[in-house]
Amino acid sequence: MTKTSRQRRWPGWARRGLMENVAIALILIGVFMLVQPFSITLYGWSFITVLVGVVMFTVVSKFPE
C-alpha cells in the first residue's frame, strides 16, 4: 500500500497513538496532583495540567495513526 502525501509529510513524533498516551499521562498526573495530600503547590498546578492533557487529547485524537 502506498502512503498518501499527507502521511509522508506528517512528522514521525506526532503519531496519534504516542501523543494520546502522553495526553493521558498528563491527565492522570494532573488528577493525582489534584487529590494528593502532600503539597498545596502541586494542588495549585493540578487543574492546568489536566486542562493541557484534555486539550492535547482532543487535538491529537485527530492526528493520523
Binding site: E20, V35, V50
Partner: protein, 317 residues
Amino acid sequence: MPDIEAIADRAASATPHGVAKVVRGLSDRSIAWLFVAPTMVLLLAINIFPLIWTVYLSFTNFASNRPNRPVVNVGLKWYQDILSSPEIWAAMQATAHFVFWTILFQTLIGFSLAYLIDRKFRGHAFWTTIILIPMMLSPAVVGNFWKFLYQPQIGLFNYVVSFFTGIPPSSFEMLGSVTLAPWAIVIVDTWMWTPYVMLICLAGLRSIPDYILEAAEVDRASRWQQFWSITLPMALPFIMLAVLFRGIENFKMFDMVMLLTGGGPGSTTELASIALKRQAFEAYRTGYSSAFAIILFVVVFGLANVYVKALNKVKQR
C-alpha cells in the same frame, strides 16, 4: 408480505396536502436535518447552553441570591481562590480517599464474586440475581436504610460488629465519628456497587475461550498458573474498565453521601460535589461555584477520555 409501494402510496395520500407541498421541494438531506433538528435544539438548550453559561459565570461575581447586583468580570480570581483553598483541597482529598478505597474493595470483592459465579453450580443464576439487588436500588433508598442500619442504639450494623468483636454496640457511632464516617460511606458504596463491578468482570471471564484453558490443562499448568497467566491477563481490560467507570462515578458522588452524612461530622465526608453544592446553594457564591464546577467538569472529562481509550482497547481484543 405487504407491498411496500402500496404502503408508501397510502402514507403519501394520508399526508396533509400543505405538509406534502412543503416536503416535496426538500432534498433527502434537508428532510434528514428536519428530523434531527428538534433533538439538536434540545441538546443545545439543556446541555451546551448551560455549560457555556457556567463558563461565563465562572469569570464573574454573579450571585444567584442577588440577581440585581451589577455583574463584574473578575477574570481568573475564582479559579485562583479554589486552587489555593485548603478547604477545597481537603474536599478533594476526602473524594480521593472515598474513590480509592471504594474502587479497591469493589474490584477485589467484585472480581472474587465473578470468579466464583463463573463456575457453574446448582442455583448460580439465583445467587447472581440476589447479589445484583443492591445495584438496582435507588441511592436515596440505600442512603436512608443504611442510616437506619448505622444507628448506634437500634442499628443492625453495630450489633453485627459487636457480635464478632465483643465491642459494646452503643460505644461507637459510624456516622458521628470523625474517624469512622469516611469508612461508613466507603462500606455503603462498596455494598451497593460491587455487583456492578462483578458483572463487568463476569463478562471478562466469560469472554475467555475454553480452548485456551483446556490447552493449559493439557500442558499440565496448575490452577494457580492458569489464573495468573491466562485468566487475570485476559480479564484485565474489563477490570480496568470497571475501575475507570467506578472512578468517574465516585468522583461525582453526591446523593448517597449527602443522605448518609450530609458531609459531616464537620467536613470529614464533604466530597467535592457536596462542597460545590454548599458553595452554590448555601453560600450563594455562584461565580465561585461555577468555576469549581468547571474544574470538576474538566477533570471528569479528562477521566472520560481515558475511559474511552480503555474501552477502545477492550473492543479491539
